[in-house]
Assembly symmetry: C3
Amino acid sequence: MDQHTTHGTVATGFEAVREEFHAVAAAEGGDYAAQLTIYHQGKQVVDLWTGPEISGDSLTGVYSCTKGAAYLVAALLVQQGALELDQQVSYYWPEFGAAGKQHLTVRELLAHRAGVVGAVAGFTLDELADDRVLAARMAAQTPYWRPGTAFGYHALVAGALIGEVVFRATGRSIQQHFEEHIRAPYGIDFYLGLPPEQEPRFLTTQPMRPTPEQLAQVAANPVTPPALLGIAFNQKRPDAPALDTLPNHPVIRAKAPASVGGVASARGLARMYAAATTGTDGLPPLLTPDTVAAFGQIQSVGLNLVTGGHSAYGVGFTAVADLYPVLNPGSFGHPGADGSQSFADPHSGLAYGYTRRRYAFPGGAAAENTRLVRAAADAANATVPASAAT
Amino acid sequence: MDQHTTHGTVATGFEAVREEFHAVAAAEGGDYAAQLTIYHQGKQVVDLWTGPEISGDSLTGVYSCTKGAAYLVAALLVQQGALELDQQVSYYWPEFGAAGKQHLTVRELLAHRAGVVGAVAGFTLDELADDRVLAARMAAQTPYWRPGTAFGYHALVAGALIGEVVFRATGRSIQQHFEEHIRAPYGIDFYLGLPPEQEPRFLTTQPMRPTPEQLAQVAANPVTPPALLGIAFNQKRPDAPALDTLPNHPVIRAKAPASVGGVASARGLARMYAAATTGTDGLPPLLTPDTVAAFGQIQSVGLNLVTGGHSAYGVGFTAVADLYPVLNPGSFGHPGADGSQSFADPHSGLAYGYTRRRYAFPGGAAAENTRLVRAAADAANATVPASAAT
Amino acid sequence: MDQHTTHGTVATGFEAVREEFHAVAAAEGGDYAAQLTIYHQGKQVVDLWTGPEISGDSLTGVYSCTKGAAYLVAALLVQQGALELDQQVSYYWPEFGAAGKQHLTVRELLAHRAGVVGAVAGFTLDELADDRVLAARMAAQTPYWRPGTAFGYHALVAGALIGEVVFRATGRSIQQHFEEHIRAPYGIDFYLGLPPEQEPRFLTTQPMRPTPEQLAQVAANPVTPPALLGIAFNQKRPDAPALDTLPNHPVIRAKAPASVGGVASARGLARMYAAATTGTDGLPPLLTPDTVAAFGQIQSVGLNLVTGGHSAYGVGFTAVADLYPVLNPGSFGHPGADGSQSFADPHSGLAYGYTRRRYAFPGGAAAENTRLVRAAADAANATVPASAAT
């Protein structure tokens, strides 16, 4: 008996995505539970889920997919003229100008170039939950690299840093902007601050459970992570909360730190990117083509000083065509450490959201996204585009 | 019977180059046809060819070796003061200032830092043949990366971009400048616009023909190319002309787009670099030592966002000592996608030209150049230099 | 019989370092001779030596560990306001402004971004010994890359370059500053200019002696070094002195070029970094926390154009946490080509010095440092820090 029944619907032309999703579930086996939603040209064309306890309505912590929501707020504010990308951060937030950071621009901050990725002393759970505390800590710090000249993933503080800029520039938090200008008007199932009445839909994140094969592979290829990795992921503090169950703490869901505290369904992830780029259900896109082009443009690419690997970032957003070359350049989004993934491909009109309940070993966009994204892009490319592309 | 007789001559001291060329032909086998010409200190010291139909007088499409001719025109104009490397491109060409490119300098444009490498919609054959059309298309475009901050090979448009700058600054095309100031006065067998009377000497490019071993190797090591590669090489357009036979279209040979449309013999390639750096046959070098140093200086090095590999560019020219460390730093030139190669090593006084008729799998400077360049450099180093080197 | 008796002392809590040092000696075998000294929070906690002829008092040439002494002088002068990191080099040293280097800053010079790493013509022994001659040669030269935009190890000239800046700014050489303000007042066994009365303590460097296994490994993985490597390490000149015995020339020890000419014991190396960061024996630290943070901050990271590998530099100093991620970010120091290593970890209060008499194949910080540093860091982390860390 195949316990991994695939539930949900796909539109004509996207049947292969359903098959791929089903194949992923069969390969993962066990208690694998996941959601996949895709929009194309503003219409929901894929809406699938599989596994025990989960439904299309379920919510999970989406880790750094949260950053995509935060960056979307920043993009809207830039579009409205409330924020300037090439202005210095210290113009909005004078305290940030300490310790050699006075000339760093908002653009560089968003592109992970500030160099204040964390601290050896680390953060408690309550500190991790509070963007303003994180921001104040980082403002005082000397950057690990010369600000602006290199980049590294500001895993747990990126949202707090842009959040503080937004707060200083507008008097309102990123979480407030997101709720009022994005989530509520577009009916997006993605919360930066989960309301108590939505808690019953929340499914806890299940901690990593590497297979013997995965452990053997790691043992066979031991890698010494960069010194900055442990700092950026708060691993230096003995009493730090475990990352692979972070959303399970009510304080994280309630306060929703803009780096990692969002809660969403795959429907919410995909709908947010559709709202941003194509609009949906008669509502216009949140972003103009110029804003889309500006935020999807690669700003930082190459050696990521925190991960020690290769990365490509746009203005905050991950330049996801670097991960999935089947996408068009200019695609932008953000993965989550638990394995979730979310993005838009503005050229093809694709918007993608994927969640899984079990934190994927060893962390970061889960491998199955490569298969699912390919199937989605192939289906989108096979359909007639709504407008002539350039 | 060895069908690969090596024809031509080598000067005393360069006998080993002949042996290496012969060994390459024996290893390639089949219908391999190639030319190799080398100058040393302004004198032709190697002039060889092998294979069916070909002679030392034959001409082939030399693909991106064409860019070397275009960059030589730019170097001459900079030397004459008609063009300034650190001036903004938009100073000469206002339309290029669109979409965030207003501050890009001519130096950065030449060093593949503009970020406008092509378009998803791609180009028709006629568009590819027309530098002014390509330039206008790219001028309007938003760069794929923040201009100036990263680099990637502008494979099919680099020549058009610097060509438009040259046209705007001087009122004449790169092709005209090349003909009048370089090709004609130095008697160089390298045409940017093949005259009808030279057509009988032209040999068509033969398409790639990978061996079973090559295909097996690719299959064993599958690589997903970057999203930008398909765009830069015009692979997104279903009706795009095949690259491995591009020079076989008369419109390409006639209009000679400055990125890929040149037609030359190995004699022409080598003589151009000798004319540039040492002078030849009593004619002085086209470039002063200062210009040579300026254009051979590395400007862009490391991750090439288009190829996904490592590259090193000077001011436009490829910094070929990065490919062949047996050369001296400051060596500059350009390979062709078909496998051709051409460069000068100003320190040793070497100028090198190599063509082959069969487009080498999988594209780019053919592997045999490594052996041939080493033999040439060893021979040059073993001779007494004409002047004390620094 | 174990001929590799480990001599010397370790403080309580650092016993594992002694065991590791002993294990290294057993593994190296033969005539291995080495010294290891470590300070923690200003107190000497490890002082060990092993091997024939050597004692804790022995001195060896420490190659590029010398650069650490030179950079410490620069840091002191910056701290005192006698030198400004973001001032142009040509402000202090007008001749350096030639050939496109006029805008290079002192910071960039220290971070190996100048691009004048040597010359094809190379240097004689007497030239290598004379910082002012090296400086004048490099001042006239066109950089191999666009200055400031990339970096590569200025192996044999870095000390001469900052030395000339120091001389022009203060009227005194780096060697004089080091003796008067660092070595003498803190009683550091590290000489930039070995006094004749110390010569009896000097042990000659023994040349490389690769094992058959090492040679087989190199043969199995042939690597073509970058063109700039041979230039930076003076390998293009046929009569160049061998690097693996360079300190054995009296002129090198006497004139002590600031790149490679220092002579020290491990005690001297470790004590210098303790003096710099924690102070020792009642004397205050030479550097303020701000200076420590400024000089340990990563300035150049990624592709090293000279070695062709990955490097991370602070302001001159090597960012050693990049080599040993068990250290805290902000750790700074410098290895020597003979295998020696020296650094401070300001966060943990560790200062480390290691010397070995036999030049380690193939050159650079010897592999055994990885084991020794880990043991030292683990021991330091297990002790209670003297002050709360951030």
